[in-house]
C-alpha cells in the first residue's frame, strides 16, 4: 500500500519525469548508434612510431603501481582502483576530489564550496586523519591538523597520468597515517606531454576554468613542460536561505622536467606554485558569525633520481621541499595565520635477492617546521613555533612460494616521531593465482596514526552547537592530552579478482578493521577558576568497521564502457566522544558510469551515484547524475558540455562544524569547455 502513496508524492514533480524521459531517450540513442560504429576509442593515445626506443623502454606495459613499483593490477595483494587520465577526462570532474567520487570505498563529500571531506573506508571529516595522499611522491597530508587541505592542491587535471587508490593499510610502505588507505596522484612524464594544450571554459558553479600547458624536448630523450591554471568557483547554496559567500579562486603554475641521464638513469625535477583566495562565513557558536577572507599559498620543489641496474634492480632517491601558508585579512583573525615548511628525503632500493625473493627496503627523513604568527579567539597553539622530525625505514620481502601460483609478502615500516617515539607497522599478505584469470588475496596488517600538532599543542574554544550535542548549548575549551598516543588499527582483508572475459572484470574486497586508542574528546571537567567547561582528549576510543566493495568493469563494445561499483561500510564505536568523526560515512555508496563513443566525433558520458544517509550528521541520502557530451570536430579540438548533480537544484553532502566552517549545499553545475592541442 505504501508504494502508491509514496509515488503520489513523487508525481508533483513533473520535471522529474521529463528528465528521466530525456535520459532514457539519450541512452537508447547512444546504444543504438554505438552498435554499428566500430570507431575504436584508442585507449593508448601514444603513437609508437614516433617514440624512440628509450621512450618505449620507459613506458609501463600495464599502468598500475600498488606496491611502490609498477605491477600488474591482477597481481596486487591489496584492494586497488585506478582512475586513468581518460577516466578523469570523461568524468567531467574539475577537481581531483570530484574524480575520486567514482572510486569504490572512497567517501567524498563537499562540505562547502571550497572545503571537502575525503576518506577511505570511513572516519570522514574535513580533517580525515587516516589516509595518506601523495602527488608524485610528495605527501600533502598536513601534520598540523591531520588532514588534507584539498583546496590548495590544484595540479592540471589534463596532465595527471593516473590516480591510484589503495584501500586498506598501506602503512608498511607509505608510512604513518596510511591507515585506511593511500591516494597516489601521478602526473605524466614530461616526455608524454609535448606540445601546447589550452583548456578554457566556465559555467554557473565553475565560473572560470582555464589551463595552459607547453611541453617541449630538451634533447632526444629528455623533455620539460610548464603549466598554469586559473579557476574561480562560485559560492554554494545556504542550508537555510540567504547568501553563503564561500566562493574561491586561485592560480597554480608549475613545471616538470624528465631527464634521461643515461639509458639507466632518469632524473625528474618538478615544482608547483599556488596562490588562492577564499571567502567563507564562520560561526564559532559563541561569537557572532563573521565573513572572512583567507589567502593561501602552497609551493614545492621536488627532485628524484632513479637508476636501473644491470640485473634489473632499482634505486631511487627523492628530495622535496614544500611550504603551505595561510593568512587572514582581519586584525584579530578567527583562523590562524601560519606557515609550515616541510623537508623530506627518501631513499629506496629494490632487488632480487634470490630467484624467488624480491627485497624492497628504504629509509626516509622528514622535518616539519611550523610558525604561527597569531592567536585567534578560537584556537591558539603553544609553543607557536615547533620543529617535528620523523625518521622511517621499511623492509619488504616478496617471496614466490610456487611460481605463477602463490606469493607471500612480508614487511614492516619502522618509524620514530617526536610525539610518540617508535612505531612498528607490520603486514603479511598472500596472493594465489589459483586458476587462470582468478586471483585470491588476503592480508593482516597493523597501522598507526601519529598525533597532529593540534592534538599536541592546541587550545580550542568551541560551542556544543558545533558537535553532536547540538541540542544542549554550552561553550567548551578543548585542552590537549597530557600523554600523546598513536591511534592503532589491526586490519584483516580478503579480496578476489576475476576476469570473466577479456571485456569483463570483477573485483571484490572485504575487510574488518579494529581500531583502538582512538583520539576521543570525552574527558569533560568543570574548571571553577575560569568557570569554563574543559574538554580533554583521551586515547580511549575503540571502534570497528567492516565492509565490502564490489567493482565491475565491462566493455561490451569497443565504443561502450560500463563501470559499476558498490561499497558497504558498517562502523561501530564502543566509546563515543562528544566530537566524533567515527561514524561519519554513508553505509551504502553506488556508482554507475557509462561511456559511449558515438561515431568518430562524439562522446557521451553518464554517471549515476547514490550515497546513503549519514546518520550521525543527519545528512540525507542523495542521488547524483553527472553527464558529459563532447564533440571532437578535429583531432586536436574537443568541445564539451558537462552537467553535475543534475537531479536536484542543491543538496547537502556533509555537516561538520568541528571547526567553524558553515556547511553549504552543493548546487547543480553546468559548464562548457573547449580543449585545444597545438
Amino acid at each position: 500500500m505504501s508504494g502508491p502513496t509514496c509515488s503520489a508524492v513523487h508525481e508533483n514533480r513533473p520535471g522529474w519525469q521529463l528528465l528521466i524521459a530525456i535520459v532514457e531517450t539519450w541512452l537508447l540513442a547512444a546504444i543504438i548508434t554505438s552498435i554499428p560504429c566500430i570507431a575504436l576509442a584508442d585507449d593508448l593515445d601514444i603513437d609508437v612510431t614516433n617514440l624512440s626506443l628509450q621512450e618505449l623502454m620507459s613506458l609501463d606495459l600495464v599502468v598500475t603501481s600498488p606496491a611502490k613499483k609498477a605491477q600488474k593490477l591482477s597481481d596486487a595483494a591489496s584492494a586497488v582502483y585506478v582512475l586513468t587520465n581518460e577516466d578523469i577526462r570523461r568524468s567531467g570532474a574539475t577537481t581531483i576530489q570530484d574524480a575520486l567520487r567514482l572510486v569504490p570505498g572512497v567517501q567524498v563529500a563537499r562540505i562547502s564550496a571550497h572545503k571537502w571531506a575525503v576518506s577511505i573506508r570511513g572516519f570522514n571529516s574535513q580533517f580525515a586523519s587516516k589516509i595518506q595522499v601523495l602527488i608524485d611522491g610528495r605527501s600533502i597530508y598536513s601534520q598540523l591538523n591531520a588532514g588534507v587541505a584539498w583546496d590548495i592542491h590544484n595540479p592540471m587535471l589534463e596532465d595527471i597520468d593516473r590516480i591510484e587508490v589503495i584501500r586498506g593499510p598501506g602503512a608498511s610502505l607509505w608510512g604513518a597515517n596510511a591507515v585506511n588507505g593511500v591516494i597516489n596522484i601521478i602526473t605524466r612524464n614530461a616526455n608524454a606531454t609535448e606540445g601546447n594544450l589550452l583548456v578554457a571554459g566556465g559555467g554557473n558553479e565553475d565560473r572560470v576554468l582555464t589551463a595552459f600547458r607547453h611541453g617541449g624536448k630538451i634533447d632526444e630523450h629528455s623533455a620539460y613542460r610548464v603549466y598554469g591554471r586559473y579557476f574561480d568557483r562560485a559560492q554554494g547554496a545556504s542550508l537555510n536561505g540567504g547568501e553563503t559567500h564561500d566562493g574561491s579562486r586561485g592560480v597554480q603554475t608549475g613545471f616538470r622536467t624528465d631527464l634521461q641521464l643515461s639509458p639507466r638513469d632518469q632524473m625528474t625535477i618538478q615544482g608547483d606554485y599556488f596562490q588562492g583566495q577564499e571567502q567563507e562565513l564562520l560561526d564559532p557558536g559563541f561569537l557572532r558569525p563573521q565573513e572572512i577572507h583567507t589567502r593561501a599559498w602552497q609551493y614545492n620543489v621536488l627532485g628524484r633520481w632513479q637508476h636501473v641496474g644491470q640485473a634489473g634492480d632499482e634505486l631511487s632517491l627523492q628530495f622535496y621541499y614544500n611550504r603551505e601558508q595561510w593568512q587572514n585579512d582581519r586584525d584579530t583573525p578567527l583562523l590562524l595565520n601560519y606557515h609550515i615548511d616541510t623537508l623530506d628525503l627518501d631513499f629506496q632500493h629494490r632487488f632480487a635477492m634470490t630467484g624467488s625473493q624480491e627485497l624492497t627496503w628504504g629509509m626516509g627523513y622528514k622535518l616539519v617546521m611550523d610558525n604561527y604568527s597569531d592567536t585567534s579567539p578560537i584556537i591558539s597553539l603553544d609553543p607557536k613555533q615547533r620543529n617535528i622530525q620523523l625518521f622511517s625505514a621499511f623492509l619488504q620481502d616478496e617471496i614466490t612460494l610456487a611460481p605463477g601460483f602463490w606469493r607471500v609478502i612480508v614487511g614492516s615500516k619502522f618509524q620514530h616521531n617526536d610525539y610518540t617515539g617508535f612505531e612498528f607497522q607490520p603486514t603479511i599478505r598472500s596472493i594465489w593465482n589459483w586458476a587462470d584469470r582468478h586471483v585470491l588475496w588476503t592480508a593482516v596488517s597493523r597501522a598507526t596514526r601519529t598525533p597532529s600538532r593540534v592534538e599536541s599543542d592546541a587550545t580550542v574554544q568551541f560551542s556544543s552547537t558545533q558537535t553532536s550535542l547540538r541540542s544542549t548549548p554550552a561553550q567548551f575549551t578543548f585542552v590537549n592530552a597530557e600523554t600523546l598516543r598513536s591511534e592503532r588499527m589491526l586490519a584483516y582483508e580478503l579480496g578476489y579478482r576475476f576476469q570473466a572475459s577479456s571485456r569483463l572484470d570483477f573485483d571484490l574486497a572485504a575487510f574488518y578493521n579494529a581500531y583502538d586508542r582512538l583520539n576521543n574528546l570525552d574527558d569533560i571537567r568543570f574548571d571553577p577558576a575560569t568557570k569554563q567547561l574543559l574538554i580533554g582528549t583521551t586515547y580511549s576510543g575503540e571502534a570497528s568497521a567492516w565492509g565490502v566493495e564490489l567493482a565491475m568493469d565491462w566493455r561490451p563494445l569497443d565504443s561502450v564502457s560500463i563501470k559499476a561499483n558498490y561499497s558497504y561500510l558498517n562502523t561501530r564505536s564502543s566509546v563515543l566522544g562528544i566530537v566524533s568523526n567515527q561514524d561519519t560515512a554513508p553505509k551504502h555508496k553506488a556508482v554507475l558510469s557509462t561511456a559511449y563513443q558515438l561515431g568518430r566525433q562524439w562522446e557521451l558520458d553518464l554517471t549515476g551515484r547514490y550515497v546513503s544517509r549519514i546518520e550521525l550528521l543527519a545528512v540525507g541520502a542523495y542521488f547524483g547524475l553527472d553527464a558529459r557530451l563532447a564533440w571532437k570536430p578535429l583531432d586536436n579540438l574537443e568541445i564539451s558540455l558537462v552537467g553535475q548533480n543534475l537531479l536536484d537544484s542543491s543538496h547537502p553532502e556533509f555537516d561538520e562544524r568541528t571547526f567553524e566552517t558553515i556547511p553549504t549545499e552543493i548546487e547543480r553545475s553546468l559548464y562548457g569547455k573547449f580543449r585545444l592541442q597545438f
Binding site: 513523487h10 624512440s52 561502450v560 537531479l647
Partner: protein
C-alpha cells in the same frame, strides 16, 4: 500505517523523488549490449608497445643489398589482434624504405627483412624455419628465444619491456647492427665455452 511508513522514509531522504527515479535512471544506464571478445586495454597497451619495439629495432639495422626503393618487409606471426596493431605501422618509412606488414608464412620468409614471432605462437614455431636466413632480423617474446636461435628476445622487467641481443647470431648473419642498439640491450654471448 502505510502512510506513516512513507512519511518516515520521506523524512529520512529529503528528496524522495530522486530515489525512485534515480533507480530507474541507474537501471537504464545498465542497458547495454551483450557482445564479447577482443582484448582489454592493458593487453592492447602492452601489445602496442611491443610492436613499437620491433619497429624501432628495424631503424638500427642495415640490410646488405637492399635496393633503396625496396620496402622493409615485416613478417608477423601472431594472433589477429597483434597483426592488426602491426598493420598500423604499414606505410611508415624507415631510412627511406616503406614498411610493409605481412602475415608470416614459411614461403614468404625469403622476402622478410624482419620476423616477429609472438609468444602465443611458440608451439608452432620452429628454429629450423629461420636458421638459414642470414638476412633476417628475428624478434620474439618467447622465453629463451635468443638461447635457442633468435637474434632479439623481448622480456618484461618491472612492468617495462627490455630486450636481449644474441651477439653470436648477429655476427653469424649478414646484418649490420648499430652500436646504439647494443648499448640499450642486455647481451647474450652464446653458450659458455
Amino acid at each position: 500505517m502505510a502512510n506513516s511508513d512513507c512519511n518516515s522514509k520521506g523524512h529520512a531522504i529529503p528528496r524522495p523523488v530522486s530515489r525512485q527515479s534515480g533507480i530507474i535512471g541507474l537501471l537504464l544506464l545498465l542497458v547495454g549490449a551483450f557482445f564479447s571478445s577482443s582484448a582489454n586495454s592493458d593487453e592492447l597497451r602492452s601489445k602496442k608497445i611491443t610492436a613499437g619495439f620491433v619497429f624501432n629495432f628495424a631503424k638500427f639495422i642495415e640490410w646488405p643489398d637492399l635496393p633503396p626503393a625496396a620496402p622493409i618487409q615485416l613478417c608477423v606471426y601472431a594472433d589477429r589482434e597483434m597483426l592488426n596493431i602491426f598493420a598500423e605501422l604499414s606505410g611508415h618509412r624507415i631510412a627511406g624504405h616503406e614498411v610493409k606488414i605481412v602475415a608470416f608464412s614459411t614461403k614468404e620468409l625469403n622476402n622478410c627483412q624482419v620476423l616477429y614471432i609472438d609468444r602465443s605462437r611458440q608451439n608452432i614455431f620452429q628454429c629450423a624455419d629461420i636458421k638459414h636466413h642470414a638476412r633476417l632480423l628475428s624478434v620474439s617474446n618467447i622465453d629463451n628465444f635468443v638461447r635457442q636461435c633468435g637474434m632479439i628476445g623481448l622480456f618484461e622487467v618491472d612492468n617495462k619491456l627490455r630486450f636481449t641481443i644474441n651477439l653470436d647470431a648477429v655476427k653469424r648473419s649478414e646484418l649490420k647492427m648499430s652500436s646504439h642498439l647494443l648499448r640499450l640491450a642486455h647481451i647474450w654471448r652464446g653458450k659458455k665455452q
